[in-house]
């Protein structure tokens, strides 16, 4: 039972977790894209879709239920929930997506190099990956947020530091598989340099798995952001963000003001739902192409 085999399997599986069905890929992709597209559109057009600013307080209208003036009601500061949801989408989606992009790029590059060259470089990278994986994720994230201070920057950095590993593993395993076919040998015989082989030939062929995984990773990132807010370590107020909305709304939950927590939770869930459909769909489309 070699480490390589286990590593390959594990990474293969990680990329596989992101996939599901076979033929229905396109419908999934379509529905998912519509959901995500709508949410993104709403986030972009937020100011056009609401009369209230996301941080406008109105102490004459706190903790109101849904009405025509406030579609989803108001929070304890009399802020319009609908506006906060819309503007919160900007914060969370942006951060979650950006926090996927960097690890995707870095992890893919490292994974491809590691899988292609092997040797001591690979050993070191994989040991580092082991440590990051074994290290309790929230401890790392929370410590980093403590060290760097709350806010978008530290959340981004914290997520990036942790999540490149998954990409590196997926890409590394795929690269190793691809390298063991004639693929790389054919390129080498042609006289191509290693850089060209890795970045022009290997990466484009293996990156699709990483991209599929990235879709589920965005979902995971939203979860992390929201959870950090729950621990009070997330986005700094008054910036609207679904996580802090949920955390702030939780004390009112048992008192019957369900909306304060449920509305942002629904936003998170619907977004994640859309994204995972897109992920499923992409997985199928990309697999068909293979």
């Amino acid at each position: 039972m070699t480490e390589v085999m286990i590593e390959k399997k594990r990474a293969g599986l990680m990329s596989r977790i992101g996939r599901t069905g076979r033929r229905r890929g396109n419908t999934h992709l379509l529905i998912g894209a519509v959901i995500v597209g709508l949410i993104v559109l709403m986030a972009i057009c937020a100011p056009l879709l609401t009369r209230y600013g996301p941080i406008d307080q109105d102490f004459t209208a706190t903790l109101q239920g849904p009405s025509w003036t406030h579609l989803l009601g108001t929070d304890n500061l009399g802020r319009d929930l609908w506006s906060r949801i819309l503007f919160g989408a900007r914060t969370d989606l942006f951060l979650a997506t950006v926090a996927v992009a960097a690890p995707l790029v870095i992890g893919t590059a490292i994974g491809a190099l590691s899988g292609y060259f092997g040797g001591w470089f690979d050993t070191i990278i994989m040991r580092i990956a082991d440590i990051v994986v074994a290290f309790p994720f929230y401890v790392l994230v929370i410590s980093l947020v403590f060290i760097m201070g709350n806010g978008v920057g530290s959340i981004f950095a914290a997520i990036s530091i942790v999540s490149w590993v998954a990409y590196a593993r997926i890409v590394r395993a795929e690269t190793m598989v691809l390298s063991s076919t004639d693929f790389v040998d054919a390129l080498k015989v042609g006289g191509l340099g290693s850089g060209r082989i890795v970045f022009r030939h290997l990466v484009p062929n293996v990156v699709s798995q990483a991209i599929v995984y990235a879709m589920s990773d965005i979902v995971a990132n939203i979860g992390v952001i929201v959870t950090l807010s729950y621990f009070g370590m997330g986005i700094v107020p008054p910036t609207p963000d679904w996580g802090s909305m949920m955390a702030d709304g939780q004390p009112f939950f048992a008192g019957g003001y369900y909306g304060l927590m449920v509305v942002p939770a629904a936003a998170v869930i619907v977004t994640s739902f859309g994204l995972s459909l897109v992920g499923d769909g992409l997985a199928n489309v990309l697999r068909v192409k293979r």
């Binding site: 304890n76 403590f146 702030d248 019957g256």
Partner: protein, 491 residues
């Protein structure tokens, strides 16, 4: 009849109290955290106890006490026949030992006993405490947990061992203790106040999440929630299974302004900020109407509180006028530091942020985790932030010093406001025996602070507890003491 049955205390019952923080030690001279202090008060007795309303002190292990003519000696007459839970009788030897333990420099509460020069024990039931200068707050200081009476030489144990197996004279004694999780205390069957306590046991359980605490009380799994979030009050009240108790407390909440930093060194800037803080709204939104907007910096629970000081009313025009006089008439940028996870602070910060924005003061809210936020304040590494004070003794001396004096322990509650004159008034007042004379000085101090506004007093905050409907006679003291000996549970 039904009514009388409901009023007559019943014996028995196991009470579970939920709290946010862990008990760290049961050694009375050591703790600085309420989480440890309050259980200590159930295990040990002090010579005197605060009156429930904070108006003075009442007898406890000492049945009477008097001050000598020169004001330098205080004589305490001890209650007879009080036994420690190990069966040993409590005598003056134990009292002397206890006070001396707390007076050691390594004890964080040594400052409380700083005025004491010597403790003598003329006989087994008499203790004389000598002070260098006349020191009016001494009886109040004898009512603080730190001066709890422990057996001489910790009954032969090391302090560490004693902390784990404490021996006291109090109504309850330690049964089991899982550090950081829970501690259970059972009834002291030989408690000197016959008939008390009523409860078979009390368990202090740590539940960090305030929502979970509320849920547990609501679900009947626990009886008392030590710190219900104000925001959860409605939920608890609606539930029907829990009651909300608001008790007078010494707590005052402030917006601390770091006067070391520009432009906060300017008094007009501070007054502008004070005028732009809508305290009524804060009370309404943050405290849900419990509590009162604050004027003077001392709590109304103390006789030192000057009711004539009303602070700066919410008035944006006035605020603008103040700012116009300052070096930064068009506003500036600053941060408010809040502790992460503290939703009340975050709410207040957002309200103040919105209000100051109208003056052109752009506020960024900086959330730091509690420890780092604490550090930032201690080191003066912040612009504005929230603080509060409470007192452990009934005499105003401790708190007026702590909050109002640069050297009182917190540099004027982290405002770093330095005023030699005020400091000297405060020092002087402690040496006076006449309460009226002291009150005059304290009013002067409060006026001066009101003028300068290094701290914007926000509101006087009641002590808030959520507890199950079958819990009776739960009346925590102004100083925080739970006084659980009186509490009983109906079936």
């Amino acid at each position: 009849t039904r009514a009388s049955a409901a009023d007559t205390p019943q014996k028995g019952g196991d009470l579970i109290m939920l709290r946010a923080e862990q008990l760290r030690t049961l050694l009375p001279s050591q703790p600085t955290d309420n989480a440890s202090i309050w259980p200590i008060e159930e295990v040990f007795n002090t010579l005197l106890v605060p009156k429930q309303d904070g108006s003075g002190v009442a007898p406890s292990l000492a049945t009477s006490w008097e001050q000598s003519k020169d004001g330098l000696d205080w004589t305490f007459h001890l209650r007879h026949g009080v036994k420690f839970t190990n069966g040993q009788e409590m005598t003056s030897k134990d009292v002397k030992f206890s006070i001396e333990e707390t007076s050691k420099p390594s004890s964080p509460f040594a400052f409380i006993n700083a005025a004491i020069t010597k403790v003598t024990t003329p006989d087994a039931y008499t203790v004389v405490i000598h002070t260098a200068k006349p020191f009016a707050p001494l009886p109040a200081d004898m009512a603080i947990f730190a001066n709890s009476i422990v057996p001489y030489d910790y009954a032969g144990m090391t302090p560490e061992a004693f902390s784990k197996k404490p021996i006291g004279t109090g109504p309850f004694m330690l049964k089991s203790w899982t550090p950081g999780v829970e501690a259970t205390f059972e009834r002291n069957p030989n408690y000197w106040d016959k008939g008390k306590p009523y409860l078979d046991s009390i368990t202090f359980k740590v539940v960090a999440d305030s929502n979970t605490r509320a849920n547990e009380v609501q679900g009947g799994q626990a009886q008392i929630d030590e710190f219900p979030a104000f925001s959860s009050i409605t939920a608890l009240q609606n539930s029907g299974t829990a009651k909300i108790g608001t008790y007078a407390s010494s707590r005052v909440d402030f917006l601390s302004i770091n006067t070391q930093k520009k432009p906060f060194d300017n008094v007009d800037v501070r007054r502008a900020i004070a005028s732009a803080v809508d305290k009524n709204t804060l009370v309404k939104v943050v405290l849900f109407g419990h509590g009162k907007p604050a004027g003077a910096y001392m709590s109304p629970s103390s006789w030192s509180h000057d009711p004539s000081i009303t602070g700066y009313p919410y008035d944006l025009k006035a605020a603008k006028a103040f700012l116009a006089k300052s070096p930064v008439p068009d506003g500036f940028k600053a941060t408010i530091t809040v502790a992460s996870g503290n939703s009340d602070q975050q709410t207040m910060a957002q309200i103040i942020q919105a209000s100051l924005a109208k003056l052109g003061i752009k506020i960024t809210i900086q959330t730091l985790d509690p420890s780092a936020a604490y550090d930032a304040k201690q080191n003066g590494n912040y612009d504005m932030g929230f603080s509060y004070d409470t007192t452990d003794i009934v005499d105003p001396d401790e708190i007026i010093r702590f909050t109002g004096s640069y050297d009182g322990g917190s540099h004027g509650l982290y405002s770093f406001y330095k005023n030699k004159e005020i400091d000297s008034w405060i020092a002087k007042a402690a040496t006076l025996n006449d309460q009226d004379a002291r009150q005059k000085i304290y009013f002067k101090v409060e006026k001066a602070w009101n003028e300068a506004q290094p701290l914007v007093p926000l509101f006087y905050t009641p002590e808030l507890y959520a507890y199950a409907s079958n819990v009776h006679d739960f009346h925590p003291f102004v100083t925080g003491n739970y006084n659980l000996a009186d509490v009983w549970m109906s079936k």
